[in-house]
């Protein structure tokens, strides 16, 4: 019970409503139609009611005035004709009143007779009425207007709206009505008396009420029908749109052969046709790209094989010559040595080129294993030992925390090897220090390689990853790197969903930071290690 209540509350909470409003075109259109049509129908209904009621009242007033004038005229006549009788005025007045009242009962109006000028003792005199009518039904304004007229002359009837009040509850206490005032002159005393005809508009009110009910009911039915029709029409439009959405989602999910069903020749059908054409074009394009990628990959693979076989022969031949160089004359011996060294470089370059083209073809795949990066960095630094010793550079590893991540150890090892070799290459004078710092947090792991050599010029931070880019074209090549090392390292890092960034300042050295997610492919938002001069605790040791 409580649960249901809460669910209902949540369903009608403002947030949920806004969401439904935004999410459902159908809801939006139907609600708009209902609101707008309610406003329009309501407005029209009010106008109609107003005009009809005005017309009804107007007609009633006209007929009331005419009737009152006629009655008074005939009453006056009958008074005049009976003028010979010696009757006292009170009797004559009550006779007149009784006559009018009885006529009024037949004709549906009430009558009130009294002196035209009520004077001070109005209560005693105004007593001749249709039984049950409250004398206050005649507004004081009307009485005043009647009393202000010249006595003795029959006035043109005056009328006003009023609330007809009854003393008893037989007809209800109050009802709107019209009161028409006329005057008669009693022949017996020559006094002017006011005769008020009260016409309750019961029938008109009833008609109006009925009309209002009819209009309200038909308005509601109209709005409901409009909503229903809108719903149907919207359904007709929305259903194909939703179908299109579903098909688009399936295509996006890789099911390229999905198509929309085309039915008829309307706009929806044309949408379906265009949609299908788009899907065809996309599918064809993707197929072309897949084919291109396949051809490219095949080409890389073939080139690899075709180049490597002769290179193997050359390599072996060179090895034979190199091993036998002590038997050669000095020139030939040196030539054999050069051949051997350059073959190493050639092989390395070929390997890097093939690796890069594999990335370009999208053929590079990760082989993920739980890897201890501290151990991995240790191995890399050990294997870089001979080069470091040759340069007189000291390489240290700093790892305060265990650094384990699910990565491709071969690729990560290659990245770190590239960074370390690069750092040793650019470490500057012998005695310089290269630091490999490892860090980890919940999200990712990082390896920062910091050197204290010549550093980088402003703007070079991003260029270092360009293929075949060299910090100083005039500078002699030292370690014989291929110029593709950092580009490959960057691709390797990206393949893991990680980052490889560089920092450097002239004469302050450089820092390369590799950040990898704990699990390759997971998103990372920050690196556990800083990038920059503070990236190495050994700052100043150089």
């Amino acid at each position: 019970m409580n649960h249901r209540l809460r669910r209902v509350l949540r369903a009608v909470s403002p947030g949920q409503l806004v969401r439904t409003w935004r999410a459902s075109l159908r809801t939006r259109v139907v609600v708009s139609i209902v609101v707008l049509s309610t406003i329009v129908i309501g407005g029209v209904g009010l106008l109609v009611i107003r005009q009809i009621s005005d017309g009804l009242v107007h007609a009633r007033v006209n007929s009331a005035v005419a009737e009152a004038s006629g009655e008074t005229l005939s009453a006056q006549k009958s008074l005049g004709s009976s003028g010979g009788y010696a009757v006292d005025p009170e009797t004559q007045l009550s006779q007149l009143a009784a006559n009018l009242v009885s006529r009024g009962q037949n004709r549906g109006y009430e009558v009130l007779v009294g002196p035209a000028d009520p004077g001070t003792d109005s209560d005693s005199q105004v007593s001749l009425t249709t039984s049950g009518l409250d004398p206050t039904t005649v507004p004081a304004r009307l009485r005043k207007a009647v009393s202000a007229t010249t006595p003795g002359i029959a006035i043109t009837p005056r009328w006003t709206y009023t609330n007809v009040r009854y003393l008893s509850h037989r007809f209800g206490t109050e009802v709107s009505g019209v009161v028409v005032a006329t005057t008669v002159v009693l022949p017996t005393d020559g006094g002017t008396y006011a005769v008020y005809y009260v016409f309750p508009m019961r029938d008109e009110l009833r008609t109006l009420q009925l009309l209002r009910r009819v209009l309200l009911t038909s308005g509601l039915i109209l709005v409901a029908m409009l909503a229903g029709v809108t719903l149907l029409v919207i359904r007709q439009v929305i259903t194909p749109v939703r179908l299109a959405r579903r098909v688009a989602e399936r295509i996006a999910a890789g099911r390229l052969e999905e198509r929309m069903h085309v039915d008829g020749e309307d706009d929806i059908a044309r949408l379906a046709v265009s949609f299908n054409q788009m899907a065809d074009a996309l599918q064809q394009r993707i197929r072309q790209l897949i084919e291109l990628s396949r051809v490219q990959r095949r080409f890389v693979s073939d080139v690899s094989h075709e180049l490597r076989t002769p290179l193997t022969t050359v390599r072996m031949a060179s090895d034979v010559l190199h091993d036998a160089r002590k038997d050669f004359d000095p020139v030939t011996a040196r030539a054999a040595e050069l051949l051997q060294n350059e073959l190493d470089r050639f092989e390395e370059l070929l390997g890097d080129l093939l690796e890069i083209s594999r990335f370009d073809a999208g053929a590079a795949a990760l082989e993920i294993r739980d890897t201890d990066l501290v151990e991995l960095c240790g191995h890399v630094v050990d294997s870089a030992g001979p080069l470091a010793a040759q340069r007189g550079v000291h390489v240290g590893v700093i790892a305060d925390v265990p650094v384990v991540a699910a990565v491709d150890p071969r690729r990560v090892s290659r990245i770190v090897r590239n960074l370390v070799t690069n750092a040793i290459d650019h470490a500057g004078a012998p005695g310089s220090v290269v630091t490999v710092t490892l860090g980890a947090d919940d999200e990712g792991v990082a390896v920062a390689v910091r050197d204290h050599g010549i550093g980088l010029e402003p703007g070079q931070q991003s260029m270092v990853f360009n293929r075949f880019w060299r910090a100083d074209p005039a500078r002699a090549r030292t370690s014989g790197g291929t110029g593709l090392g950092l580009a490959i390292a960057l691709e390797d890092a990206r393949l893991h969903g990680g980052w490889l960034e560089a920092w450097g300042a002239p004469a302050q050295g450089a820092c390369f930071r590799l950040t990898l997610p704990r699990r390759a492919g997971d998103p990372i938002t920050h690196s556990p290690l800083p990038l920059g001069p503070e990236g190495s605790p050994l700052e100043g040791a150089s």
Binding site: S301, S304, H305, R308, T309, P310, L311, T312, T313, V314, R315, M316, A317, D319, V320, E347, R358, A363, A365, E367, R369, D370, H379
Partner: protein, 247 residues
């Protein structure tokens, strides 16, 4: 020198590149091997029968019949070590080659010394002759007789698979990392491709396990490597059981 001349191991080189084949023959000749060359894949099996080599060097791309098919044919009838020569390092190529039965592979371009080292590693009798009879799972391994039996029934293994099994069986409690296995079974001195180990463990399991999907004899230790499964019924083994050194 005289001893080597007494026994010159025979190497069958299956490669369609004449220059490389000649170069290989030269180098292998100077290193104390006899070499014979076949240039076509469809002639390889006949040459294998004629020449009875101790090691086969097999290129993957061959006219007539590709290296994978040749490798399967040879493996179907013999456990002779096969070293693939491949220009491809992509996983799919390497793994396909290894799964077809090759013991090892070497990527072109290679250095002659590296090649010779691999061939020697495949030729060396890895298990020193001893009285050894090892138990692993419900298998009995006769090291001297180079045979593996289950309930008296022989299971045919290639020499490499045999070496792998013996290596694990000798130290039943030790967990061997892939790197250590590469060193002890394949004779690599530095880090090499651990895919070799994965593929051969699978091949070995396919032959000896009751249910290769759910191995009991060669057990994977997640994140570390492999170890021998327990011997059922504590059948007393003559193997030198050393205290476990696993993590």
């Amino acid at each position: 020198m005289s001893r080597e001349q007494a026994f010159r191991p025979r190497v069958l080189v299956v490669d369609d590149d004449p220059a490389l084949a000649e170069m290989l023959t030269l180098v292998l000749g100077t290193e104390g091997f006899d070499a014979s060359v076949v240039a076509r894949g469809d002639l390889a099996l006949a040459a294998f029968h004629d020449y009875r080599p101790n090691v086969v060097l097999l290129d993957l791309m061959l006219p007539g019949k590709d290296g994978i098919a040749v490798c399967r044919e040879i493996r179907a009838e013999s456990g002779t070590p096969i070293v693939m020569l491949t220009a491809r390092t992509d996983t799919i190529d390497v793994v396909t080659g290894l799964e077809s039965g090759a013991d090892d592979y070497i990527v072109k371009p290679f250095k002659p010394k590296e090649l010779v080292a691999r061939i020697r590693a495949r030729l060396r009798t890895s298990t020193p002759p001893a009285e050894e009879q090892l138990h692993i799972g419900d298998l009995v391994v006769d090291v001297v007789g180079h045979s593996v039996t289950r309930d008296g029934e022989q299971i045919a293994l290639t020499p490499l698979e045999f070496d792998l099994l013996v290596c694990l069986a000798r130290r039943p409690r030790q967990v061997f990392s892939r790197e250590v296995l590469l060193q002890q079974v394949w004779g690599y001195r530095h880090a090499a491709d651990t895919r070799l180990v994965n593929v051969h463990v699978q091949r070995l399991r396919a032959k000896i396990e009751h249910d290769p999907e759910n191995p009991r004899i060669v057990v994977t230790v997640r994140g570390v490597g492999y170890k021998a499964g327990p011997v059922p019924g504590a059948a007393g083994s003559g193997a030198s059981e050393e205290p476990g050194t696993g993590p």
